[in-house]
């Protein structure tokens, strides 16, 4: 491995448009780990909303665009386990022939942020200092699709945070893309369960690695007032950076 | 995986107990028949005691004769009215083909003189298990079964009848016997 890792940030459309602070935090974490961060400005969306809605043609169009944009880079890192999982899991099924070969090559160098820092680089100590209690929601696609595992916890603890595990940390929060709009009758109660489990820990923060899940939880919390502040783990750790 | 008769016996006893089976013994072959008679007098006082006479231990230990000598009404498969009387019998006595230490299962093979229902219709099932017939694992037992002609019914009994249908809390005694006892015979 060269001394300085050059990393292309895939910030995701949700972070770019709605939660830019998470993108800023991601850059700061990567730079604290000694990476040189590049931001390919032609990037847009991974296409997951279309794939999960059963619109594979539209999803494939965005997959091709993603591959065109990111193919030249050595490492692609995203602060979303779900978007990284889209590239790993679905591009393979959306494309055929030569395009599929390219998709697989791109997927093989695409990582979720905590996974990249902890597993790929082996860098857990980023110099952040936090005095906070945190409970962690294991967002589904990162957990089950690309094996992110406990990487975010490792980073949070290395930064000095105290993790208090909640009941059912691996149960879905109810977001699920278009599901959260078409089946709000179930998505809402699932968010309530997640927030209640988090509240029971009395932790200050509910951290996770997917901004869309966090926005869904915060949207519910604004109605009910239950649960700790949902926050992306990168944003929380970045607050502890000098 | 455990091996050796003593270890297998301990392991089976633990698994059967976990399945809510009352385990007696091991007793010597000489004592086994008296033990069965004692349980019969307890569970079916004055009533019928259904027996599977063809089961190896039942035949070898002379269980039918001992029960008759003790004055119990022994109900045998060929008897007149067997079907009608079986449901009213207080106890069913069988041997078993083998027992599985891992799962605590009693494997019963149906054949002439070993009907399926003796272990099923009466409220109490007493099963004689020779400690030499204990196998360690279910897969080992299946391999043994696959190596010989299969009976019309090979039934694996874990313990008393139970259900999870009442708020998913295990509740005993639905359609099959509410009590299962095992006499281990050395």
């Amino acid at each position: 491995m060269p001394d300085v890792q050059r990393v292309a940030l895939f910030v995701t459309c949700v972070v770019d448009i709605v939660s830019p602070e998470v993108g800023v935090a991601s850059v700061r974490l990567l730079e604290a780990a000694g990476c040189e961060v590049l931001f390919p400005e032609a990037q847009t969306c991974c296409g997951q909303p279309a794939a999960n809605s059963g619109e594979p043609e539209a999803a494939a169009r965005l997959a091709r665009h993603f591959i065109d944009v990111f193919e030249p880079y050595d490492a692609i890192v995203s602060p979303s386990g779900s978007c990284a999982a889209m590239i790993h899991h679905w591009y393979d099924r959306l494309l055929t022939g030569r395009e599929r070969d390219r998709a697989r090559a791109v997927a093989s160098k695409t990582f979720e942020l905590s996974q990249y820092l902890v597993v790929e680089l082996g860098k857990t100590e980023l110099g952040a200092r936090l005095d906070a209690t945190v409970t962690v929601h294991d967002a589904c696609h990162g957990l089950r699709n690309i094996g992110v595992g406990g990487s975010a916890r490792v980073l949070l603890e290395a930064a000095g945070a105290t993790i208090i595990e909640m009941e059912e940390s691996e149960t879905c929060c109810g977001f699920g893309g278009t599901f959260s709009i078409e089946h709000g009758e179930v998505a809402g109660p699932l968010a309530d369960d997640k927030l209640a489990h988090a509240a029971a820990t009395e932790a200050q923060y509910l951290a996770s690695g997917d901004s869309a899940c966090l926005l869904h939880l915060e949207g519910r919390r604004r109605r009910t007032g239950t649960g700790p502040e949902p926050i992306h783990f990168a944003e929380l750790i970045a607050r502890g950076l000098a | 995986m455990v091996s050796g008769v003593a270890a297998l016996t301990d392991s089976l006893r633990a698994a059967l107990s976990a399945n809510r089976v009352v385990v007696h013994g091991p007793v010597t072959p000489a004592d086994a028949a008296q033990h069965v008679v004692g349980r019969a007098l307890l569970h079916s006082p004055g009533g019928d005691v259904a027996v599977s006479p063809a089961d190896r231990l039942v035949a070898e230990l002379g269980i039918v004769d001992h029960l008759k000598a003790a004055g119990t009404n022994v109900l045998l498969p060929g008897d007149v009215g067997w079907r009608d009387r079986l449901s009213a019998a207080g106890l069913g006595v069988t041997g078993c083909w083998l027992a599985v230490a891992e799962t605590g299962s009693l494997a019963l093979a149906a054949r002439v003189g070993s009907p399926r229902a003796v272990s099923l219709l009466p409220p109490v099932h007493l099963c004689l298990v020779a400690v030499d017939d204990i196998v360690a694992t279910f897969s080992g037992a299946i391999a043994r079964a696959a190596g010989a002609p299969l009976p019309s019914a090979l039934t694996w009994v874990g313990g008393p009848s139970r259900t999870g249908d009442l708020e998913m809390i295990q509740t005993f005694g639905v359609h099959g016997p509410s009590t299962v006892e095992v006499v281990l015979v050395a």
Partner: protein, 507 residues
């Protein structure tokens, strides 16, 4: 065929809404944690065991017709009679003919999802035959005139006091709200039915092609009674229940019972090889095995073939966050939960349950729990694509060389990887629906960086609010009914990146 459904509604969303708002149902669901059964099973099951079971199931699916022929020959050899039913109507007619010939007045049934699938009970009752469900949970829903809400524990939606009230309608007096007493009452109340029934009907958990042995698991003993005491035993077997070898039970049976109830083996396992033999005192004189197709063979060779590996353990229901919230009746289908969302539209060729595949957050807990490695979440996504076009759902064969049902891979470490089923995502051409047009247009605009930037800027202008959140947005009222909607930030990440690059801001 709608029995008294407790959560009426036209769509899954309506029924789910009613289920979430039903305090009795929510109380019943809260009282038990069905997830725990499966959690134990997952803990006890190694990836190697799952791989082995998954391969045994795919081995059979690779030549389903061949294994069924072998099974039929074996069953015939051991004295059973095989009937082949292409449709539920065929299967009902076969059973009705047998009941007719037998002059049956009473039929006892052991729990069988396949008999639910063909609505057999109603067909028999319509000709005046008394049909008695003998599994306690199944009996409860029969008396309540409902449908099972879970394939393993059919009355899971009912609390103990509700169950006592239901059973009381068949009792001479009041019944105590006490579990042991209710079990004992069931024993005494149903025993006469077993003794007088001329026919026992069961399902089949596994049918071994080499020996012609059918295996049935129960905990109560009703399965044993149904297959022991009546003169005729009819076993209804969906064709995918065939397994290659008797010896495969060593792998598949413990996996089924562990995943279903957390037991290392069910309390009673009956391995039946033919009817009673000469001079045996009990067991049925006749054993009839009905092979039920019902559009299953049409799935072989398509990406949906994988669902035929299912062994009906219920693990996917137990871990599903949606199922755990709404219970089985919200699906308005025989099979509920993740596998039901897939099987219902497929078996009905798209006539039933078209909105079920959409009712999933795609969290993947089902895929992870499945002991035979069916990529359930993937199949849900495929169905969403294939159900876009109106009309019958006819899955097309996967292109040669693309399906690789076996070929699962796992990531290093603790993570779980999805199986690599390689058929293209949609097997049918897309329709010209509004939704398709919208996604098409969106993907074209967002495939261009300029289009993406322009639309994001427009969204920012349209969605400005001091808090960054909106309480009511008519376009997405499905979201705002329960949650505030996040709005675009005043400055996008790329704007901030550009500012940093130009030195205008420092991070």
């Amino acid at each position: 065929m709608t029995h008294g459904i407790v959560t009426p509604g036209e769509s899954f969303a309506e029924r789910a809404t009613n289920a979430v708002a039903n305090p009795d149902l929510q109380r019943a669901l809260r009282n038990l944690d069905i997830r725990l059964h499966t959690a134990r099973a997952v803990a006890d099951t190694t990836p190697e065991m799952k791989d082995q079971a998954a391969e045994l199931r795919r081995e059979v699916l690779a030549d389903l017709d061949g294994w069924l022929d072998t099974l039929e020959a074996s069953l015939t050899r051991v004295g059973a009679t095989v009937h082949r039913a292409d449709t539920p109507a065929d299967a009902r007619r076969i059973v009705l003919d047998l009941a007719n010939r037998e002059g049956a007045h009473t039929i006892v049934k052991s729990k069988s999802m396949a008999t639910e699938e063909i609505d057999l009970g109603a067909a028999l009752e319509s000709v005046g035959i008394e049909v008695v469900e003998t599994d306690l949970g199944e009996y409860i829903v029969q008396v309540a005139d409902e449908r099972p809400s879970h394939m393993i524990t059919p009355a899971i939606h009912k609390t103990l006091d509700q169950i006592a009230s239901v059973l009381e309608t068949r009792a001479d007096g009041p019944l105590p709200v006490e579990r042991e007493a209710l079990a004992a009452w069931t024993h005494d109340h149903l025993r006469p039915a077993f003794l007088r029934a001329e026919i026992g009907i069961s399902g089949v958990n596994f049918a071994a092609a080499d020996t012609g042995t059918i295996t049935i698991v129960t905990n109560e003993g009703n399965g044993r009674l149904c297959t022991t005491w009546p003169r005729v035993h009819i076993a209804l077997m969906p064709i995918e229940k065939v397994i290659a070898r008797f010896g495969d039970l060593a792998t598949l049976l413990p996996l089924l019972t562990r995943s279903a109830t957390g037991q290392s083996l069910s309390n009673y396992v009956s391995m039946l090889t033919g009817p009673r033999r000469d001079d045996e005192s009990d067991g049925p004189d006749e054993l009839h095995v009905v092979f039920l197709d019902h559009n299953r063979k049409a799935l072989v060779g398509t990406a949906y073939e994988e669902i035929l590996a299912c062994i009906r353990c219920g693990a996917c229901l137990n871990v599903c966050p949606v199922y755990r919230k709404v219970s089985g009746h919200a699906y308005d289908a025989v099979y509920s939960g993740p596998m039901g969302k897939i099987l219902t539209p497929l078996l009905s060729l798209g006539e039933e349950g078209r909105d079920l595949p959409g009712a999933s957050s795609l969290c993947g807990a089902c895929t992870e729990a499945c002991p035979v490695e069916i990529p359930l979440a993937d199949l849900l996504v495929r169905l969403r694509a294939d159900l876009r076009a109106p009309g019958p759902l006819l899955p097309l064969p996967a292109p040669a060389g693309l399906t690789s049902p076996i070929g699962h891979h796992r990531l290093p470490g603790e993570g779980f990887a999805w199986p690599t089923s390689q058929a293209p995502l949609a097997s049918r051409p897309p329709p010209r629906s509004t939704r398709h047009m919208v996604f098409g247009a969106w993907s074209r605009v967002w495939s261009s960086p300029a289009g993406y930037r322009a639309s994001a800027a427009a969204a920012r202008l349209g969605g400005l609010s001091p808090s960054g959140w909106a309480r009511r947005v008519p376009l997405v009222k499905g979201w705002t009914a329960t949650r505030d909607l996040p709005l675009p930030d005043r400055r996008s990440f790329r704007a901030r990146w550009a500012a940093r690059e130009s030195g205008a801001e420092r991070w």
